[in-house]
């Protein structure tokens, strides 16, 4: 082969006349051009083969194939002298024609898309597009981040809400519960997700006789019953607790969901229960001592007419005795009436003794504490009448021997009277208030109950401690008379005086032994 090539070359280079020179140079140039063409087209062809994503690959491929075949031809045409080259050339030319035809066909296929081909974006355009895309991507990312943050925030709010929150869908399936709900119901989050909300309600409250099934649950009915503010909730371990339920239904992403808030009101319930019990007890005591004191009050009242009967029958007896004619029967009758009146008096006295015995016993008492517990009972009344209670308790009170039940009753009655008076009164600018005070004075402890209401009219003052006289429509008028009896039976005194700023002040004093 090398001798073949060597043989070729000298034949061309040896002849050195002008024509031959130009021919030599031309040949050289042709050789370079052809080589270059050959290399370039081969390269393009290889690239195209290697890159399947090139747009209009077919067309480029055909073109490059055509050019490649042409470069082959050109290369070989340079050595057309050699006899077999002509043959090969011919073959190649046939191939080139085929390639040309193919190229024409491929190009024809492009004819409608010429505009598109022309408008393919340039690198600069592509860069610009890229930058824009990047910007958009960044913005999206930011928005997503914000959204995620907001969602996170709300999740945190729900999670940490002071009331339990349970969210369930329209079929009652629990979608979410927050930390407090977990604590209240003693479930883990995962344990309740997907479960029907009825597992949180005691069975007996659902009124189902069948076994509970997710499909059987009438969520509408349950929700309707859940609307009741107070409900009993069921914990995981089967224990129950009284709860306050709030419900809110809304649509989220096209689905109907219900948000339920739960609050454990056991403490409130037990407090209410206690207050109710205390109130009942006090009412009972009130009634009991009222009856007792009513009897005592009645007794006292009976004494007056009995005295009159007694005096009058005695007088009548005397007058009959002075008659000129003796009237033994009349006299006997009258005398017996007198005796009966006296007898009735004795009965009443013994009744009073009896009442005194059961009225309670004296014991060493902290008066300030007594006042404080009494104020506890007055609070609800005061609150509903919008009356403030001020306390002014002495710090140097010794314990005194008093009947705590009776004394409490007195303070309570005086306090209730004051609140009652303020209910319908106007105090102008001042807020309605009653003040209860204790103080030590020589050998007495003095308890004062004052109000800034309208005070007492002269008529009321005249009949103040009389039983059965009342300024209230429904009052029996026993309150103050009873108070007085209670105080006096402990050796104390009950008084009323006008306050400087209007309003009534009642005070009683008890001896300190």
């Amino acid at each position: 082969m090398t001798s073949f090539v060597w043989e070729l070359v000298p034949t061309k280079i040896v002849i050195l006349n002008k024509f031959e020179l130009y021919r030599q140079l031309s040949f050289g140039a042709d050789l370079v051009i052809v080589m270059t063409m050959f290399i370039v087209t081969t390269a393009v062809f290889m690239v195209l083969v290697k890159r399947p994503q090139t747009p209009y690959r077919l067309q480029f491929l055909m073109v490059s194939l055509f050019l490649l075949s042409y470069s082959f031809i050109s290369a070989l045409a340079l050595f057309a002298d050699v006899w077999w080259v002509e043959g090969v050339l011919l073959v190649l030319k046939v191939a080139a024609v085929c390639a040309a035809t193919g190229t024409i066909i491929a190009m024809l296929r492009l004819r409608w898309k010429l505009a598109t081909v022309v408008s393919l974006p340039s690198p600069e355009d592509l860069n610009a597009l890229n930058l824009e895309l990047e910007k958009e991507i960044n913005i999206n990312r930011e928005e997503s981040a914000k959204l995620a943050k907001a969602e996170q925030q709300f999740r945190t709010f729900l999670k940490h809400a002071p009331d339990g929150i349970v969210i369930f869908d329209s079929s009652g399936v629990i979608l979410y519960l927050n930390d407090m709900a977990e604590i209240l119901y003693q479930y883990e989050h995962e344990e309740l997700l997907g479960k029907p909300v009825v597992v949180l309600i005691p069975e007996r409250l659902l009124h189902f006789t069948e076994r509970l099934d997710v499909d059987d649950i009438d969520t509408e009915a349950i929700l309707a019953r859940l609307e009741k503010k107070d409900w009993t909730a069921l914990r995981k371990d089967g224990t129950e607790f009284p709860s306050e339920i709030g419900l809110s239904g809304f649509t989220l992403d096209g689905d109907d969901v219900v948000l339920m808030t739960v609050r454990d009101i056991s403490e409130r319930r037990s407090l209410e229960e206690k207050m109710r019990k205390d109130s009942t007890q006090l009412a009972h005591l009130s009634r009991v001592s009222s009856v007792g004191q009513m009897a005592a009050g009645l007794a006292h009242e009976l004494n007056q007419p009995l005295t009159a009967i007694s005096n009058n029958t005695y007088t009548a007896n005397q007058l009959v005795e002075r008659l000129p004619r003796k009237e033994p029967l009349l006299q006997a009758t009258i005398k017996e009436s007198y005796e009966s009146a006296q007898h009735a008096g004795r009965i009443i006295r013994s009744l009073r003794q009896l009442i005194k015995k059961t009225d309670g016993t004296r014991q060493a008492t902290d008066l300030n504490e007594l006042v404080a517990t009494t104020v506890d009972f007055l609070m609800p009344e005061a609150k509903s009448a919008n009356v403030k209670i001020n306390l002014n308790l002495s710090t140097v009170l010794p314990q005194i021997m008093i009947d705590p039940v009776q004394t409490k009753q007195v303070i309570l009655n005086l306090g209730l009277n004051a609140i009652e008076a303020l209910k319908t009164a106007t105090t102008g600018q001042q807020p309605k208030a009653i003040s209860i005070g204790t103080k030590l004075d020589d050998e007495h402890v003095i308890v004062t109950v004052a109000d800034n209401g309208p005070g007492l009219s002269a008529e009321m003052q005249a009949n103040l401690f009389q039983p059965y006289i009342s300024s209230k429509e429904t009052g029996m008028g026993l309150g103050l008379s009873i108070c007085k009896t209670f105080v006096e039976s402990q050796g104390g005194t009950l008084h009323h005086r006008e306050t400087r700023n209007g309003g009534a002040t009642f005070y009683f004093q008890l001896k300190v032994q």
Partner: protein, 224 residues
């Protein structure tokens, strides 16, 4: 403390005075029935329906007994008693009450009440207590009257007469006129004259009486 009145009213005091029973009770029936009962027993009665009404008309000159209810509106019976004490009026009180609690009754007695009766009281008992109180009053009045009289009379003696009286009553009046005359540097006849004058002025019924009066006015000397 009883106040002594140094004027001619003195002599008018005494047994002849009519004692008024005051009934203080806010209950009409109780008040009226009591008044009627006392009236037919010949007492002089006045009625009051409140403590204030009673206190308004009472003064140092009032004499009698007060029958007092305790449970009354405004001023209670015990408060009336308090008022009387403060004013220095020492009139006997009998409490008549429908209440009857021990502490009040004890306090009332401590403050000088004559008695404390629970309604309906036995009328016999009431009348008994009433008479006791009245007797006590009469005795007291009589004493006061005589005391008043003595002092008034004594005030009317001249200083000389007073001297004589003192001398006369000295040593239980055992001395003779001569001795007294000697002591006072007077003639026995003068002494005799003064003696009868003093006795008459002092309204003494005897020497012993005079000695008593001397004691009352405070000029009695036991021994020299």
């Amino acid at each position: 403390m009883r106040h002594f009145i140094f004027n001619s009213k003195c002599s008018k005091q005494g047994l002849k005075l009519e004692y008024k029973i005051s009934v203080v009770d806010d209950d009409l029936a109780a008040r009226t029935s009591l008044q009627r009962m006392l009236a037919i027993h010949d007492y002089s009665v006045q009625v009051f329906e409140s403590g204030e009404a009673f206190l308004e008309q009472i003064d140092q000159q009032s004499y009698g007994v007060v029958l007092l209810d305790i449970a009354m509106p405004q001023l209670s019976g015990t408060e009336v008693q308090q008022q009387l004490l403060e004013r220095g009026i020492a009139i006997p009180l009998i409490f008549l009450t429908g209440h009857g609690d021990v502490p009040t009754s004890v306090q009332a007695m401590k403050n000088g009440a004559v008695d404390f009766l629970e309604k309906p009281y036995s009328v016999d008992v009431l009348l008994e207590k009433l008479n006791e109180a009245l007797d006590g009053e009469r005795t007291r009045q009589a004493q006061a009257a005589s005391q008043c009289l003595v002092l008034t009379n004594f005030a009317n003696l001249t200083s000389r007469e007073k001297e004589i009286m003192a001398a006369l009553s000295f040593g239980h009046a055992q001395r003779s006129n001569k001795e007294i005359a000697a002591e006072l540097n007077l003639s026995p006849r003068t002494v005799e004259e003064y003696r009868s004058r003093v006795i008459s002025k002092m309204q003494a019924q005897s020497i012993t009486h005079l000695v008593e009066m001397a004691k009352q006015v405070g000029i009695y000397q036991h021994k020299a």
